[in-house]
Symmetry: C2
Subunit: 409 residues, 2 copies
């Protein structure tokens, strides 16, 4: 299915050259989980000494693999770990059968790699409510093990796609105390044709040496600044999973929450988050919504998300309509504090509204010209205090309806 | 513009015969507020002794007329009242100019009818951010006054339309203590081509005799069971206004919160609320979402609204896809309590999912056949406690995108 979709017009020019992470190996294979002849099962092995951290969907109907990961993620262990991912079937809302399927997959990987099952993390993405054909996956585990390579991260990025229109990766190499430290990550999300869940899966790897609790703290804090601030259509998957593995192979120890490692990790996470938005279903515009002057950071985020999720704002963006009235509407409905007469609204640098009305110098042509770009910024200052937040979204187009309404699952 | 739109496929066969309300008179006229040659200003006069109640948008960016109504609605007075409504311009986000325009309109009506300005309520609906050409409205007030008639409520329903595809009215006549009491109402909402706000305006009239505080209590409680439980696209207008006027002309006094008057009023309000959904932008399906078994009524409403506002659920309905996985997803993301393995989901009477998985007897053909109807019910039982709620919505179609993205304002 994915092969028939045109690449998003917002896709990066090419997949980046990701720094290899010593201690992290990858392999992808075609197992026929749902479709034939496409890579749909991916194995990632982490060397002994690797610490793991993760964040997961807060959905109350989360999938069996997510629940299994959550049980395992806080355990400390030095023996190494593995991650196995299948596309084509989400193993969500599958009752006890789903639990058994996850157990079968993770125990097979454990036996094949000589690891305890508590160190095997799994994700499933695709159609929900159908039994996972786990024997198709377990049949390929030994083959996958024999293919593992540190240079196959691009393959892994391809293997976790469902109907994403492009493979998503981001990486950096930084120097800490004069030694190189690398961070590389892959993600999938938001492209679907068979209308399932827009599941987001993200796997990030680093050769930094960092204790599990600190790794988890940094990951959780950065998630609130990156992946939790993107929205395509306000719908939350039952399967969202973000795993971060630190192999320690660089020999560089990270002992503080702040500093160059955190900054570099944030850069990689933000890059991947933006790529998910750029592959939003039917997206033709990438939109940054920046709210300043709010009563608090939380209020700013509430306003920004209200704007970013408003169907009327998103359709106006699709229509290249500088319809600031809809931005005013979205602020008004958000429930967070706002004073109509203190609002300032800019599209990019174009001052549109201020002092509770359209700016006296605003020319509709300036707004209309600005809206023609593929990358847009909606900037709102509330004039109340210092709270701020930035979120990212895409437009709402006929493409979204076509993808989600015109095809039957 | 409205004349070029096809009537919604979900529209009632015809405008109902509304019972006339003694003490409530109506007139509509063409004033050229935005377009020429369509009725766009409507005057309603209420006889001395009428009590008034109202509910208004909770938007923090509400319009000048809404703020003016809110200042006046809690005043007690026996001298009568009037409501003046214009379409074509919302007088929202218009700064001090908007306040002055509302003052000019209400004071002109007050002078013409010999009433204090504190008894003149006004609404404006249409494009936002443009100055209201109030002199076009005030120029017609004396003409409107001379046309007032108790039999012109259908004219009023037409006059408050912007791009609604049909005029909306509902009314009942009941017997209380052997005497007739009448309730009639009109509404506008949700049809737009020039992409402005989907403002909802509702005016209801009764000849019951009822004190203002009791009238307000009943209206507020019923609003939470009717208009607050409908959603077209989750976006909230800056101008939503619902006014209820009781002329007392029937001589029948209502002194209790419960009873036949409340029941009849609820029926009229629900009928009008459903008509607004049936005129939802691009709607081809009318959907009732009923949630039972929740931890509380509030939790049930949270789940129901999460389902009713989910773009993925609404596009599945548009595509006639019995995609219960998306219903599970919407429950999961709502934030209210749910246990995945206790959920029961029915499309109409078709049992789709139970015990955390698809029902063993479910046939996809049964679901697919059911989804072909224009009127659908999504029934969810959470299996937790006794909380329940029902909300109403429509599907999300290419029509919605066309209306809101393909035309420039």
């Amino acid at each position: 299915m994915a092969d028939t979709i045109e690449k998003s017009p917002l896709a990066p020019a090419c997949f980046p050259d990701l720094p290899e992470i010593a201690g992290a190996e990858f392999a992808s294979i075609s197992a026929g989980v749902k479709y034939q002849d496409r890579k749909d099962v991916t194995l990632m092995r982490l060397a002994p000494g690797t610490t793991m951290a993760g964040v997961f969907t807060r959905s109350s109907t989360r999938s069996a693999p997510v629940l299994d990961c959550q049980e395992k993620i806080a355990l400390d262990s030095d023996v190494g770990a593995a991650i196995i991912v299948n596309s084509g079937n989400a193993n969500a809302f599958t009752g006890k059968n789903g639990v058994d399927a996850t157990k079968a997959v993770t125990e097979t990987v454990a036996a094949s790699l000589g690891l305890p099952a508590t160190r095997i993390f799994s994700s499933s993405t695709g159609v929900i409510g159908e039994p996972l054909p786990h024997e198709r996956i377990t049949a390929k585990v030994d083959d996958l093990r024999d293919m593992l390579s540190t240079s196959a991260m691009h393959d892994a990025a391809d293997g976790i796609r469902t109907t994403d229109t492009f493979a998503k990766g981001a990486g950096v190499e930084i120097q800490i105390d004069g030694k190189p430290v690398r961070i590389s990550g892959i993600a999938k999300g938001s492209g679907m044709v068979a209308p399932d869940m827009a599941t987001m899966l993200v796997y990030i790897f680093t050769d930094a040496k960092i204790a599990r609790p600190l790794l988890q703290t940094i990951l959780s804090e950065l998630t609130d600044l990156t992946f939790n601030n993107i929205t395509v259509d306000s719908d939350t998957s039952t399967s969202d999973t973000l795993l971060l593995a630190a192999t320690g192979a660089s020999g560089v120890s990270i002992n503080t929450k702040t500093g160059p490692f955190r900054d570099a990790l944030q850069e990689v996470m933000l890059d991947l988050a933006h790529q998910v938005v750029r592959d939003g279903e039917g997206a033709t515009k990438f939109v940054e919504v920046c709210v300043t002057g709010a009563a608090s950071d939380a209020d700013a985020r509430t306003h920004a998300m209200s704007i970013a999720n408003s169907p009327l704002v998103k359709t106006a963006v699709a229509g290249e309509d500088p319809n600031w009235g809809r931005v005013v509407m979205a602020i008004g409905k958000s429930g967070a504090a706002a004073d109509r007469d203190l609002l300032t609204i800019r599209f990019g640098d174009v001052l549109v509204a201020e002092n509770g009305w359209v700016s006296p110098n605003y020319q509709e042509d300036d707004g209309a010209n600005y809206m023609k770009s593929a990358e847009l910024a909606i900037n709102v200052d509330l004039g109340l205090a210092d709270g701020c937040a930035t979120v990212w979204t895409c437009d709402l187009t006929h493409g979204y309806i076509t993808i989600n309404a015109d095809y039957r699952s």
